[in-house]
Point group: C2
Chain length 236, copies 2
DNA sequence: CAGGTTGGTGAGTCAGACTCACCCGTTTAG
DNA sequence: CTAAACGGGTGAGTCTGACTCACCAACCTG
């Protein structure tokens, strides 16, 4: 019997190894959550030893952040594009809500990591991920602002509050689904949320004018109503 | 010099010791967050040794849950009471929003623990704290339901969604304050959130009247239309 | 081929949650 | 009154998992 062969470690280029680690980390973090994941398990999936992971990522947490950054950038490719193709602020709002819901439906585990492990931690504020997220939510604010300029949304709405209401509502409502309980009908939900918010934020230009016109019509009708008997009397 | 005096551990009744530990734990958890808190530090604050804490609380996490349960029960004393004294669903909604905001303003650190460390963990669902929280949010749902019955809120609103929108909006909007950044004007915020939601969910009394008036106008117009030819014929 | 560069190793250290055998003051049964 | 049972408290452990570091070996370069 020969001596156990000295294992020859597989040498990869830096980026390639980093890519493998990120991919494995994404899988394991999703499967077990951040706390329950051992860096050694991620390493084992790549066929390397724990120390190798720490060679490329200074801490476990940094690794988590990079996993989510990659995911964000991967998602953002075609984000602003087809927004311009939709006409009307209400429909654009609905699209943004729907698309956020779709991300949650398609990647509940990554969303969970994002909402729970990352966004609430001290080091998130000011991080690259925070920047990415701001760019993401800014799209909504810009859309709403366009709606204000176009007269479709009332001028007295605090847009930052409205932005937080949109994303806060969605996250809170989908939390059960994100935790693996229950289903998520994104079409119905997007419709309901949009309807609820819109009827609160759409400028009531139509209503006001309608009221004015109606009042005028009522006056006219009343005058005619009063006049009619006289005319009829005159006839006779 | 005498031999170092054999330390005589202070013996307390079970409940008393538990109370001290809960109190110390609350302070340290608030100051440093859950992860950064060492059980040994909590023990030191009570003048006991680490093992003593584990005598009364099986795990660090269980200790956290009990801390928050105590806080919840402490807050709930007079919760449903003065709600009945407020007339009108809109004002009741505003009160509930305002009171939730007040809790956040007054106990941001405990809220942070609740939102971040507890509510998003697997063992929360079905826990005592979950039950307390459901009782708390149910108050809002009941209030809204009363509003529906009273005709103040549209019948086609999904109340669970609306409940999640209320609490989700508030949490998302106050997160910066909870993390120690920025201020929180609870009066203004409660007003804005209520206004935004209400104009989306209140049954449109104005519209209904508008419809009634329009229907009347149509009748008048029809009569006039029928009458007009006769009058014209008579005139000629 | 020598020397620098870089990917990879694995045996550590360290912190902190949790355990357990034991100690001793108090209470209670005989 | 005394001895056994009870229960609060101890502190020296164990164990897990993040993170470190001295070293190795395969490649590139002059």
């Amino acid at each position: 019997m020969s001596r156990p062969a000295a294992k020859a470690p597989v040498r990869l280029a830096r980026e390639e190894r980093v890519g493998h680690i990120l991919s494995a980390a994404r899988d394991v973090f999703c499967k077990k959550g951040y706390e329950q994941t051992a860096v050694s398990e991620i390493a084992a999936r790549c066929g390397v030893v724990e120390g190798t992971v720490f060679k490329y990522f200074p801490t476990k947490r940094e690794l988590l952040l990079k996993v989510l950054e990659h995911w964000y950038e991967e998602m953002f490719g075609d984000y602003a594009r087809d927004l311009a193709e939709v006409a009307g602020t209400r429909e654009r709002l609905r699209l943004l809500v729907w698309r956020h819901l779709r991300s949650i439906r398609d990647y509940p585990l990554l969303c969970r990591l994002m909402f729970r492990e990352v966004r609430s931690e001290h080091d998130y504020h000011g991080s690259d991920l925070h920047g990415l997220n701001r760019r993401y939510t800014q799209l909504l604010v810009d859309t709403l602002d366009d709606g204000v300029q176009a007269g479709e949304i009332r001028h007295d709405i605090a847009l930052p509050l409205l932005r937080d209401m949109v994303y806060g509502s969605i996250e809170h409502y989908t939390w059960n689904y994100i935790c693996g309980r229950g289903a998520l009908d994104i079409d119905a939900t997007a419709g309901q949320i949009t309807a609820l918010l819109w009827d609160g934020i759409s400028s009531r230009g139509a209503d006001v004018q309608l009221q004015r016109e109606t009042r005028r019509l009522v006056q006219i009708a009343s005058r005619l109503e009063k006049a009619l008997p006289k005319v009829q009397r005159a006839k006779s």
